[in-house]
Amino acid sequence: MNKTLSIVLSVLGFTVSSSALELRIGSFFGMRTMNDAAIKDIYGEGTVLYPIVHLDLLAGFGLGASFELYDRSGTVQPYGESTRLKITGMEGFFSYSINLKIARPYVRAGIGSYDYEQSVESDYLAGYKVKAKKTAPHFAAGVVLKILKPVYFAVEAKYVPLKLRPIEDEVDLGGWRFAAGLGLAIGI
């Protein structure tokens, strides 16, 4: 299998690293887009922070987990009511990467469980409670750069499709994350 894959990658011009296992622990921070226009109007798009642990196993395949946090405040017009939206997600994923020594591009996909909760300071919203959980897939691609071992730097684009209907209107909390990460890569 390794031989076959090495041949394939050699044909493609890549040099495969001899290291097979690597644990990366770090955190991404970056911009987040919000698909839902109404949510975006109220809270904006803002930033996202997600710690991540990633274990590269054999032949470029790996697995990992991350925790994602989105916490934004906003104002609902026309009455200027203060509101807060907090989304947390626990994600697990599988990955595939190519070890090019300094650079390690990868793709990953997985599933996450997202808790979301909205609070509004209003006297007129009895019966309108937004607090629930939703499972959704996510997809990401990026590259890990090992410039100063064991520290690594990474950039990643991640997309989470997260459509839900907590009350009556369907809301798409999904969107892209364009993040940069920093962490430690430990060879095992």
């Binding site: 839902d36 109404a38 949510i39 109007d41 109220i42 809270y43 609902v76 017009q77 026309p78 009455y79 509101t83 939206l85 909205q118 509004v120 209003s122 006297d123 007129y124 919203l125 009895a126 309108y128 937004v130 907590p166 009350i167 009556e168 209107d169 809301v171």
Partner: protein, 651 residues
């Protein structure tokens, strides 16, 4: 009314110091609009002008009476604070043309301080005036004008306007010794705040007459008193006949201690109809500068009734009367002769010739330079005077221009479209008229001794006031009690009045009917029927008048707007209700109430939803689901707690 400003009017019309001039009887519409300091300029005189015509001098002997018909209409859309207007009215003074040098007004009287009236002060010695109009002192406002008598017996020291009451200035009844009008009719009330009309008498006419009648004999002594009782007759759609009269002693009193005036008052001398006036003064007036520092002004809209030919008939069918019209027949009846029906014999009447005068308006001392193209005075037929309105780009026919622009040559009337928006003049609101304090009479003196025979009774009038009145035996009414008449004198007078009550109905044409036009009707609540046992010889005397709390007018321009408030995960709906205060309101609004029921609910489901401050003009019914639809009713609540009819809106 007719204070010193009338001096100017009289002089302009040819009157000087009581001398009888040629063509002396004149009608004048006098616009004297003063600013209230609103806007950017200091308080100043706003608008002044004349709409007048003159009448030829009547022959000698025709000083015993006068009648005419005057247009009755609402000159303004709603009663305004401090707004005073007199519609075409008359002015009668005693004929003292035989005196060219001696003052008729004793030293110390009010008018004697007006040197321009000298040397005789004849024009301000004694007057019968009043008529149709709006007066700043009016306490109960309702829209159309009112009719009020007014007489000045002593050089403007006092004014007497109704049985027991003065001319608006004081809410308290006159002192016993100053009363001067006797209630004659037993069918119509004479409230101290004037007689209101029924409905909106747009373009209708009212006929009225002042006739010198011999209800009593001349009296000798000091001072002597003549036999002339100047009696008001009216000709309306629902009341015709005599109303009240000035007691002769009212006029002769002034010569007590001033013998020169003996026999020179209206009790003894022929009357001269020396001038009439529409007076407009104390009218709110806004001014503002535009961005180029040009001054613009605005007055309330003044409206006139206009026929299909662009004409406003102001006065018609003027007649002067001699004693042959009624005086002589009444005197004979009183002496036991043939009964008089009270109608004016045309053999004792004459119609003067009319001539008109051009209009001249000023504002802040500057001429309005383009008014001739808008409206002009006109004699439409030999005894009909009025205004001819011309088609013009500034205002519709029948509407006096509201807006003016200051220019080098004067003030120019302009259409609203030429007023720069930055002046905000079109958004300014003139303050509505305020209700005055109630009229009250004492429970002492002439009001109770000998006192009334029946009462109290009450009537609610069209001006939102309530009058309290009692039935007095005619000679027991308060105005007579100061004179100390003998029982014989009282009995003679009482006997004559009882014959009048029995023989003069209220649907007879005492004044000759008008040559054209329809008669206005007085407020039907003024028309009363004597109680059983008081059918003749008793008269209703108003002892008080107060405001009847009225509900506010319905809020206007009520609208509903459905607003979706998007919280991202859900939408919640708002019904935004908006309305405006009704500009017809003459009461203070303390709150607005909103009632609500679900769209599909029964009528019984209406319930008070919210009570808002009186300054509110909007309310958001928030937190509604998409399927929650409602109907609303909005009412205004006055500071007295009265609630208007609702205006309804709904999803």
């Amino acid at each position: 009314m007719c204070y010193p400003d009338d001096n100017v009017i009289l002089k302009r019309l040819g009157w000087t110091g009581g001398k009888r001039q040629t063509g002396v009887f004149a009608w004048a519409a006098v616009f004297a609009i003063s600013m209230l300091g609103l806007g950017q300029t200091a308080a100043a005189q706003g608008l002044r002008g004349y709409i007048s015509c003159s009448l030829s001098q009547p022959p000698v002997g025709f000083g015993a009476g006068l009648s005419f018909y005057s247009a009755v209409w609402s000159l303004i859309e709603k009663p305004l604070n401090g707004f005073q207007i007199g519609l075409p009215s008359t002015w009668i003074i005693p004929d003292n043309s035989d005196n060219a040098t001696v003052p008729l007004c004793p030293v110390g009287t009010t008018a004697r301080k007006w040197p321009e009236r000298g040397p005789t002060w004849a024009s301000v010695f004694q007057t019968v005036e009043g008529g149709l109009g709006y007066w700043a002192g009016t306490r109960f406002h309702y829209g159309p004008p009112k009719f009020s008598m007014n007489g000045t017996p002593n050089c403007y020291d006092d004014e007497i306007a109704s049985p027991g009451w003065g001319f608006f200035r004081n809410a308290a009844a006159l002192p016993d010794s100053l009363m001067g009008i006797a209630q004659l009719s037993n069918r119509i009330l004479v409230p101290p705040d004037g007689l209101p009309f029924q409905g909106n008498p747009e373009g209708l006419i009212l006929g009225y007459a002042w006739m010198a009648l011999p209800f009593t004999d001349p009296k000798g002594g000091s001072p002597p008193t003549g036999d002339q009782s100047w009696t008001l007759f009216v000709n309306s759609a629902n009341f015709k006949g005599p109303v009240a009269y000035y007691i002769p002693e009212t006029w002769s009193k002034i010569s007590k201690g001033y013998p020169f005036d003996d026999g020179r008052g209206l009790d003894a001398r022929p009357g001269i109809a020396g001038g009439g006036a529409i007076e407009i003064n104390t009218v709110p007036y806004f001014t503002a500068l535009d961005s180029r520092r040009v001054l613009y002004s605005r007055i309330p809209q003044l409206r006139f009734p206009v026929d299909g030919q662009g004409r406003t008939i102001l006065v018609q069918d003027v007649k002067f009367y001699s004693n042959a019209a009624l005086h002589d027949r009444l005197k004979a009846w009183r002496a036991g002769g043939a009964a008089s029906g009270g109608t004016f014999d045309t053999a004792g009447a004459m119609e003067p010739a009319m001539t008109t005068r051009p209009t001249a308006f000023t504002q802040d001392g500057k001429s309005l330079t383009n008014m001739a193209g808008i409206v002009e005075t006109r004699i439409f037929s030999p005894n009909v005077f009025g205004l001819q309105w011309h088609a013009n780009p500034i205002a519709d026919q029948g509407f006096f221009p509201e807006y003016f622009r200051d220019e080098m040559a004067g003030r120019v009337a302009i259409p609203p479209s030429q007023v720069p928006s930055e002046t905000n003049l079109s958004f300014r609101e003139f303050s509505p008229a305020q209700t005055g304090t109630p009229y009250t009479s004492p429970s002492t003196g002439a009001w109770i001794a000998p006192g009334p025979a029946r009462g109290p009774y009450q009537a609610t009038l069209a001006d939102f006031s309530k009058v309290t009145y009692y039935w007095y035996r005619f000679v027991d009414q308060p105005a007579f009690q100061q004179f100390g008449w003998s029982e014989v004198e009282k009995a003679l007078l009482q006997s004559l009045v009882e014959k009048i009550h029995a023989g003069w109905p209220i649907d007879r044409n005492y004044i000759p009917p008008p040559s054209g036009g329809a008669l206005a009707a007085f407020d039907p609540a003024l028309i009363v029927i004597p109680p059983a046992g008081c059918e003749v010889g008793y008269v209703p005397i108003v002892t008080g008048q107060e405001r009847v709390p009225q509900p506010p007018a319905v809020p206007t321009n009520a609208q509903i707007q459905r607003i979706a408030v998007n919280y991202g995960f859900f939408k919640v709906y708002t019904n935004r209700l908006t309305w405006q205060a009704n500009t017809q309101n003459s009461v203070d609004i303390s709150s607005y109430r909103i009632y609500r029921k679900a769209k599909d609910a029964a009528e019984s489901a209406w319930s008070l939803f919210v009570d808002l401050p009186g300054s509110s003009t909007t309310y958001d019914d928030r937190g509604l689901r998409k399927d929650q639809l409602f109907f609303y009713r909005i009412t205004a609540v006055s500071s007295q707690g009265f609630e208007s009819d609702p205006v309804a809106i709904g999803n």
